[in-house]
């Protein structure tokens, strides 16, 4: 099957050519990269922490069934209700019916990544329910009818003046705003306060859920999470099955790893944990929706499963030279960047997502910063092999690689080909250097002068000068 023109190479071109976007992303990602490097650098035991994080997550994945049942038991014991969702449509149905039970037509949301995966907002809208995003950047994206382009900073592709204009046309209609951060934040605050105080139902994501105690944890920077998690009567939290942790103590490791990796902060500004329901304090009803959505399928792959260790810090996005130049939209998934390139093809396996394993030079910057040591380049190569073996490949490429491999399986055959190429190097060099070439090679050469084939290979030189008794 030939590659359809829907994958990353095509989706990224518009962004690559958008110099404003590239400048926005470059300055945003380099700033956060430097912050991260600074606070990670001051942590003497960082490598040890990474290994701890990796170990805990591996332990969870190795006994996921047990930890999830333990979590269900613990949550139930403290007054929560656990719902199991095999896929996105089941999760959406569960959430919708919970909202409908309370007769609500508007809900507030915090930490929306997993619900973005479900396309929950569209689903609810189709059933007459509006979902209001309360993370500032998510709100911006929602008001602009746009899509998030970064895990942590979903509106990273938007400039302040664009946001000012957007607010003046939506939540601050009739007002004239400045484009200073404080003024823009205040505009959103005025709008959101009203929502917080009137909403009866909140929908949240989950950063961590502790099997031992049934405690759920959300880590955020704006305080909106606190509002969503405490003010409404009903709280519905949605988590992927991989978000469970064995013990409360394990949180300590991740609360060190996460803020340093994601925002470059030593400590996270607003960390909320809650354990079930308490009369007169916080929500009266707590529902935990535990989502599979092909995660168990990812778990079955011994190499690919490490992607499930991800704690959504987005450090890999911020260091990725490809992400820096493409932005998040080109990945065509709620999970962009290097982690998206290994998660999306495994979770969604859409045709466009199958091009993502090749959307990397394997430079390894992502692996170097990953707080749970996901060897992203290794998984990318593994997925390349898997995607090809499942038939998504170019026949001509496969044949060429097969022929090259056959030549390279023998020193003699390789030498023969070298001799031929060296013999005809003059016309060959002329073709490579001057004759206009079609397709990929032509495009390649437009930006790069190809090297000339020299008149003698090393092997030939060695044979002529050194082969008698070594050198």
């Amino acid at each position: 099957m030939a590659r359809a023109k829907t994958g990353f190479p095509f989706a990224s071109i518009e962004q690559i050519n958008n110099s404003q976007l590239r400048a926005n992303l470059k300055s945003a990602t380099s700033a956060i990269r430097e912050k991260r490097a600074k606070v990670v650098g001051e942590k003497q035991d960082w490598e040890e922490l990474r290994r701890k994080g990796e170990r805990i997550k591996n332990e969870v994945l190795a006994s996921l069934d047990e930890y999830l049942l333990e979590l269900e038991e613990s949550v139930t014991k403290v007054g929560g209700v656990v719902h199991w969702a095999a896929d996105s449509s089941e999760a959406n149905r569960i959430i919708l019916s919970l909202i409908q039970e309370h007769g609500e037509s508007e809900v507030i949301k915090v930490k929306s990544l997993t619900t973005d995966e479900l396309h929950l907002n569209e689903y609810l809208a189709n059933h007459g329910i509006s979902a209001v995003e309360t993370d500032l950047a998510e709100l911006i994206v929602q008001l602009a009818h746009d899509k998030p382009s970064h895990i942590l900073v979903p509106a990273i592709h938007k400039s302040r003046s664009e946001i000012k204009e957007l607010f003046e046309n939506t939540i601050s209609k009739g007002k004239v705003l400045g484009d200073g951060p404080a003024e823009l934040a205040e505009a959103s605050r005025l709008y959101l306060r009203e929502k917080f105080l009137s909403a009866k139902v909140a929908v949240s994501g989950v950063n961590f859920a502790v099997a031992e105690t049934g405690t759920v944890c959300i880590v955020e920077s704006e305080g909106n999470g606190r509002m969503c998690l405490t003010l409404p009567k009903v709280l519905i939290s949605v988590m992927g099955i991989e978000k469970v942790l064995p013990k409360l103590d394990d949180l300590a490791v991740f609360l060190e790893l996460l803020p340093r990796s994601s925002t470059g902060e030593r400590m996270n500004p607003y960390t909320s944990t809650w354990t079930g329901v308490h009369t007169g304090d916080g929500p009266e009803e707590f529902h935990l929706v535990i989502l599979d959505n092909r995660r168990s399928h990812v778990l079955a792959d011994p190499v690919g499963r490490q992607a499930l260790r991800c704690i959504r810090c987005s450090a890999c996005l911020n260091v990725c030279p490809v992400y820096e130049r493409s932005g998040g939209h080109a990945y065509g998934s709620v999970y962009p960047g290097p982690i998206g390139a290994i998660l999306s093809p495994q979770l969604f396996a859409t045709e466009a997502s199958l091009s993502l394993p090749w959307a990397s030079t394997l430079c390894g910057a992502c692996y170097e910063v990953c707080p749970v040591r996901i060897d992203i380049p290794r998984v990318l190569v593994h997925l390349r092999e898997k995607v090809i073996s499942e038939g998504y490949k170019s026949k001509s490429e496969e044949v060429s690689f097969g022929v090259i491999a056959l030549i390279l399986r023998s020193g003699r055959r390789f030498e023969l080909i070298q001799r031929v190429a060296t013999q005809i190097r003059r016309p060959l060099n002329r073709v490579l250097l001057t004759v206009s070439l079609p397709g990929a090679l032509g495009k390649w050469r437009a930006a790069r002068q190809v090297p000339e084939i020299p008149d003698e290979t090393f092997r030939m030189w060695w044979r002529a000068n050194r082969s008698d008794n070594g050198s």
Binding site: L408, T457, R463, S467
Partner: protein, 249 residues
């Protein structure tokens, strides 16, 4: 001569950059290391493995291990090939369930070193007596920097070259955008990355860019030449062979 090493030149250098391999022979000889060239050697299999044809790389792993089975130590003239061998060979060999190949691979892999790594870590040498009175930037290629962690080796070796002025390359740690078939499959992205790398090199105002991977250097040089910058590229081995007395041998 006290030591004997087998040179793994890599298929790419053998064909396109024989001068790098000749320079490496010269430097090693100067340091009293005898060099052998097992002529069955071809390719480490990295191109196949990285592009998604791991099963085609497996026979190349076998071929490599057999070609170097008599070697005491192997010096490779490419960091990315060295990383391929170090990180993936055992896993690929294990796919064959061929015990002889697996044990041969286990035995060989720890004996394979990248050229600059071999000089500083095995021989303990930083000053090879070279002289190159020019302004130079070092581009730490991705595999040398993040897989082999040998940035310090090249920097120490370059630091000891007489007359050489080492200039910091802005955003040096960023990939040049080559990535083998990446530069064809995602050519627009590759070109954008290369353009930034080239701009950073121009900002450094150097005469020569040095690295330990000719594949990346070919990519960078392609843009430097296409744009008529007059900036040259050199493999580290070629810099270290500059101004040495005694010539080849």
């Amino acid at each position: 001569m006290t030591r004997t090493v087998s040179l793994f030149v890599s298929c790419f250098n053998d064909m396109m950059f024989p001068k790098t391999a000749r320079a490496a022979v010269e430097v090693l000889n100067k340091l009293n290391v005898k060099v052998e060239f097992p002529d069955e050697q071809t390719c480490c299999g990295q191109i196949h493995f990285n592009t998604g044809y791991a099963s085609m790389a497996v026979p190349l792993v076998k071929h490599f291990v057999e070609s170097f089975s008599d070697s005491n130590e192997v010096v490779a003239l490419s960091a990315s090939c060295t990383a391929m061998i170090r990180e993936h060979y055992l896993e690929l060999a294990s796919r064959t369930h061929d015990d002889e190949l697996i044990s041969g691979t286990e035995e060989l892999v720890p004996k394979v070193f990248e050229f600059s790594e071999y000089l500083t870590e095995v021989l303990g040498v930083t000053d090879v007596g070279a002289s190159y009175p020019h302004k130079v930037s070092y581009h730490p290629t991705c595999h040398s920097l993040r897989s082999l962690h040998i940035y310090h080796s090249a920097i120490a070796l370059l630091g000891a070259v007489k007359g050489l002025e080492l200039v910091d390359l802005p955003y040096a740690e960023q990939c040049c955008g080559f990535g083998g078939t990446f530069s064809v499959k995602n050519s627009a992205m590759s070109t954008a990355m290369l353009a930034d790398k080239t701009a950073n090199i121009l900002n450094a105002r150097v005469e020569t860019v040095v690295a330990v991977d000719n594949s990346c250097l070919m990519h960078i040089s392609g843009a430097l030449r296409r744009n008529g910058t007059g900036i040259s590229v050199m493999h580290l081995a070629e810099v270290l062979a500059q101004g040495m007395d005694g010539g080849e041998g």
